[in-house]
């Protein structure tokens, strides 16, 4: 019997898997099924260049339809997968079509966490996850409007930067006592607080949202301390929920993502998962982790393709991330969880610095701002679990490269 790989989800991971399967020599049938009505596209620009109208929808597409045709990849868009029959090894689509598989991959991503308050369904409350989300938002994203952003993570901060650029009046509320609390150290949080404040973003920290008030539209956001903030447009950026309903219904092991091993294989050896929906036994971090990033999705996709083609591959790259706000290029590598010491190299005042996070003397993570050279070296230092002391790391007369073992 010839092989069929069915990929559920037509985002970054699914798209990259189709290419990687062909490049690895897979010559069976490949079917990729996505519920959004468009070809796989890049999501990172949604909160940046696409929101600011510097990129068209077509430019978001990872590749044109003709490329899938050339690679003999069947792409089904605008259709949900309804259920999976693991015993019969097939998937049933919402339109009734049944597709048999020999290998199945979940690349289902996630959806924006909804604000659990009455009024959150009103038409001026927005999320940043899909092209459709941004199309709806753009119609209201106009100069002079009062933009209120709920959530001081990457999505919220990137949207704030675009809001300032497009001359909206921007307020940002964050429930935690600092920005980016989940992903970076207090030094970086303070730095981004200063940057955004200086650009004109009114930031309120430790400010949980209690209620939304108004009529047809939300007109006011009520904070936990009773403060009422007037708003025309609201963006909610409070995290992502992995799309695991189908996997759960198919009785796969799920715990904050579909549980997969270092080859991205689930509790069913013919079913894999990659990207935001997967919680993997990470070969570099040596613990379970669900990561939300394009590089993670791409790496997982390549590992699955290689594994399906009978090649040795493990998901063990040091995770990395990036975020563009104003003219600041933030690039990060590693996970700083559990760090004991942070060392700053360079100058925050001059917007050119790197923060290194140490644990037991080992560099476990780095955040670099406008320092691509440091970032490239940091990737190697983190991947190599290199030891360094604070004095050396902060001394700009010592070349970072010299620390690579």
């Amino acid at each position: 019997m010839s092989e069929t790989v069915v990929i559920i989800g037509a985002g970054q991971a699914g798209c990259d898997m189709t290419a990687a399967l062909r490049q690895q020599g897979f010559d069976g049938r490949i079917v990729m099924i996505g519920e959004e009505p468009v070809l796989p596209y890049r999501r990172p620009p949604l909160s940046k260049a696409y929101l600011s109208d510097e990129m068209t929808e077509e430019q978001l597409y990872i590749k044109p339809a003709s490329t899938y045709e050339k690679q003999n990849v069947e792409v089904i868009t605008g259709v949900r997968v309804e259920r999976i029959d693991r015993a019969a090894k097939n998937v049933t689509l919402a339109n009734g079509e049944v597709i048999d598989y020999t290998k199945l991959a979940f690349c289902t991503g996630g959806h924006a966490r909804r604000l659990p308050l009455p009024g959150a369904e009103k038409p001026n409350v927005h999320y940043v996850r899909t092209i459709a989300d941004i199309e709806k938002l753009k119609a209201q994203f106009l100069p002079g409007k009062r933009l209120l952003i709920i959530g001081g993570g990457y999505i919220g901060l990137e949207a704030a930067a675009v809001g300032i650029k497009k001359e909206l009046r921007v307020t940002l509320v964050e429930a935690m006592p600092r920005l980016l609390a989940r992903v970076t150290g207090p030094e970086l949080s303070e730095y981004y607080y200063c940057v955004h404040s200086a650009k004109g973003v009114d930031i309120k920290l430790g400010a949980g949202v209690d209620a939304l008030e108004g009529g047809e539209l939300v007109e006011r956001v009520v904070l936990a301390d009773g403060t009422r903030l007037e708003a025309d447009v609201i963006i909610v950026g409070i995290g992502l929920i992995p799309n695991t309903e189908l996997a759960e219904a198919a009785a796969l092991e799920v715990d904050n993502g579909i549980l997969v091993d270092q080859q991205c294989r689930s509790s069913d050896p013919d079913i894999f998962a990659a990207g935001d929906c997967a919680n993997h036994d990470h070969g570099f971090l040596l613990r379970r982790m669900r990561l939300e990033s394009v590089p993670n999705a791409s790496e997982g996709a390549r590992v699955i393709a290689a594994t399906i083609c009978g090649k040795e591959a493990v998901h063990n790259g040091a995770p990395w991330f990036w975020s563009d706000q104003y003219d600041l290029k933030l690039q990060m590598v590693g996970i700083n969880q559990g760090y004991e010491e942070v060392v700053i190299r360079g100058s925050m005042e001059e917007n050119s610095f790197s923060a290194f996070y140490l644990c037991g003397g080992v560099i476990i993570s780095a955040d670099t701002v406008n320092r691509p050279k440091d970032f490239m070296v940091a990737k190697k230092l983190v991947a190599g679990r290199v030891k360094a002391d604070a004095a050396t790391l902060s001394d700009e007369s010592v070349e970072l490269k010299s620390l690579i073992a």
Binding site: K63, V294, K329
Partner: protein, 106 residues
């Protein structure tokens, strides 16, 4: 529209038509060329689209800017003509361009 030849590390040549204005990372992805990843989608943030411009063409593709130079500093085995293919934009002057792909992007 012009033709660009991608030469893999093993010496295999693939000739593709690239519309003017497209970058050479995107053109590689569009044509299923292995050896170019482009993980960041062309943002000059990842350096996984490293290529080496053929000597005969080095002058025509121009100079990398400071950010690109810094990123190139960290790629595997950089060469004098190393570029990030996402930062090379196709134009009439580049008709016939030849670029070489490295052994590994990381």
């Amino acid at each position: 529209m012009g033709q660009v030849t991608y030469v893999s590390f093993d010496g295999e040549q693939t000739v593709v038509d690239v519309p003017n204005g497209d970058n050479l990372m995107q053109a590689a992805i569009d044509n299923g060329i292995s050896g170019i990843l482009g993980d960041c989608g062309g943002g000059c943030a990842c350096a996984t689209c490293h290529c080496i411009v053929d000597d005969a063409w080095a002058a025509k593709t121009g100079e990398p800017d400071e950010i690109e130079l810094d990123m190139l500093d960290g790629v595997v085995d950089p060469k004098p003509n190393s570029r990030l293919s996402c930062q090379i934009t196709m134009s009439d002057e580049l008709e016939g361009l030849v670029i070489h792909l490295p052994e590994s992007q990381f």
